[in-house]
Amino acid sequence: MTQPPLTFDLASTRLDNGLEVIVAPDADAPGVAVNLWVEVGSADEVEGRTGFAHLFEHLMFQGSENVASGEHMATVEAMGGTVNATTSTDRTNYFETVPRGGLELALWLEADRFASLAITPENFEAQRQVVKEEKRQRYDNQPYGDLLELLVAQHFPAEHPYGHLTIGSMAHLDDAALDDVAGFFRSWYRAANTSLVLCGPVTPDEGVALADRYFGALPQLPATPRNLAGSVATLAPQTTTVVRAVPHSLSYLSWDLPIASHPDMTALDLALMILADGPSSRLHKSLVRTGSAAHEIHGAALTHRSAASIATILGRPTEDTSTEHLAAAIFSELDRFIQDGPTGSELARAKAQSESDDLWGLATTTGRADAINEYRQLYGSPASINDHLSDVAEVTAEDVARAAAQWLRPNNAHQLHYLAEDAR
């Protein structure tokens, strides 16, 4: 392992209205990333309104006092910038990366919609349809398109904040009303619920002055508290079997993990890499390379800020292996891993791969700005981005074994057997 090769200079301040402003100067970057995180996501949606936080994100491009519908994106593109927004369970982010000469216009565009969103019935209806098409394109029209929904339903009851997908349900999207928009905006899109990261050729003084010039007039209102943690319990481990018109059957195993900022998460990420990431992972070597049970195995973590995150291990069984048999074979390897822990070589490789993944994530100003906002949200301090590489470097084999023993025990696993209707 090399020593952590980079540290970012960060300057952060809070405007009088509560907006947090973080500047990450990078004089040589090709553009400035403007990245806003609003502390609202699908976990904050009220009953009968799933999908609203994301629909609202679409509406933020539909015009404000001085900006016509669609003009925000068109303007950023026409200055050679990139622009988008996304919604997750825990936040909504709005971001553009623009040439330095376009920074002020980008901030003006953002500030205008945060100050004066203006939605017409026609724009609202068109975006409702666009979001329904997004749901069809990403989920309903895709093979395995309900895998995530089935996974979430195994872990959370419907009334849990994380018990539904961010995209929402068609029925709730149909029920969403223009009247809901103003209230949602008032409740959540407050300066004190928002943080702005500027990353690129801009000094801290310039960045703070520009943020104050464009966002300083937003009203000073108290932050809206989220009401998420601990209110509804997660579900006990369960086994679900479905049959679908897909090309291959899958064993999809999953576990409750701690919240995203829990100290065990670093060790758990490494554990999942060692177990199931790539051709030299444990499970690939023992179950794929030998041809004994699986053709492919992958691991992943779905992180949540305020309640259980989820670890997944997905396996595609060989033709003469049932999904139950593959699950049992994975559990058996997992028992051994929990018992013995990773080898020195396994841990060193996982750390090297983790470092490369981090470096890629930080290679663009767009990625870096978003990561800074993520660290700010998860750990309360944007500067914690500078600790992650050394946190990974310090994880020991014992840490990985202990975290796996606590969180990845076979008898705590949910099993989803996703069976192909006509296996090849």
Partner: protein, 442 residues
Amino acid sequence: MNRPTVTTDSAWQFPTPEITTLGNGLTLWYFAMPNQHMTSFNLMLPAPLAGEPASLEGVGTLALNASDEGTLRHPDGEITELLELQGATLSGTARFHYTTFGGTAPSTHLADTLPLFLEVLRQPAFAEQDITHHIEALTASFDSRLASPEASNRMAMRVALFGGDHREGRPAAGTPSTLLAITPDDVRAWHSAHFRPEGATLLVAGATAPDDSIRLLESWLGAPELKPDDSPADRQHPSVVVVDRPEAVQAVISVGLRTPTRTDPRWAGLRIAGHAIAGAFASRLNLELRERLGYTYGVGGGIAPGLREGLLTIGGSVRTEVAGDSVARILDGLRLDAPLTDAEVDDARAYLVAVAPLANETSSDITAQACALAAAGLDPSFLNEHFAALTRVTASEATAAWREVVRPEQLTVAVTGDAEKLTPALTALGLTPQVVDLRSWS
């Protein structure tokens, strides 16, 4: 608060590499990027899929995918572990005209990674169990693409544009019937014939120069044994094809055409027109089909450059009920009856020129772009000439270029969805849809 104006930064130039031709005929392009902590390297091999035996298609992709499973010196996954220990990953793509193979590593580990990469290039073991594993993986991947509405649409479009009798019309990674016929000896033969330094170009971008590895690179010897005929397919008659997915809730629509490429004097005009018509978020088609009508999550596309030809592909996914109307509107839009305005062309030009520094921010961006240029036999300075050409294009030139090249009667349409509903909707437009069965390749 007054709307701020945009100040224009000085024109950006694609970086100039240090170019070295080694004694073994390998050309090295190094792009110094001192702020990139991850280095990217990419080898452009003149190994065209055009040279694959028809009964063994997929062998070129197998030779890539299986090569880092083991080498003669480090068999049975040992080489993979050594690469992982460096934080390095390898990947490659075999194409009709050429093959690329490369990877990424932290810049501080480049000197330890390139010798491992060279070992993979020169002495892959191609053990039987690894070939068997990758044949299964490619076969499964073919089945997954058949099941995917977007991937099956692309497959149908290719065969309609290039013809099933031509290699470029058939799946690059082979089909189950050809894949299952491939033996380890076939893979070794392909590797031995094509993985040679002479005529290849290695592109490296990152904070560390590959100086320490030059002597090692020079010890790799040989020239490709064959120069396969990779001439383009005959023009196919334009057609309207439907891939049936019964009860699908959406239709994936694409409109395609083989076009001129970078060296055509109209190229800059075609790029600008494509961006204004379909490429931008604020493109004519996206504003109409997404923002005004709410038919789709997005329509996109444009004209992409290729080695001898370019390829126009424009489309998106729409709910089944409006598929016919969407196809009609896309075809109408591509006809460009209303010429492009000065404002549209100015915006498209501004985007294509000014986004270049962001689009080339990482080391991988640079090597991917440079690889495409090297494969086309173009100098890295081509891009700067292209940016200059973009600044000169007028609205009438862009309109004229598009109308000359994108002839409505020449367009091919592929739609993936519920054929029972799509066929009458397309017929009502005066089109003659044919349902195609891609499973015949299985």
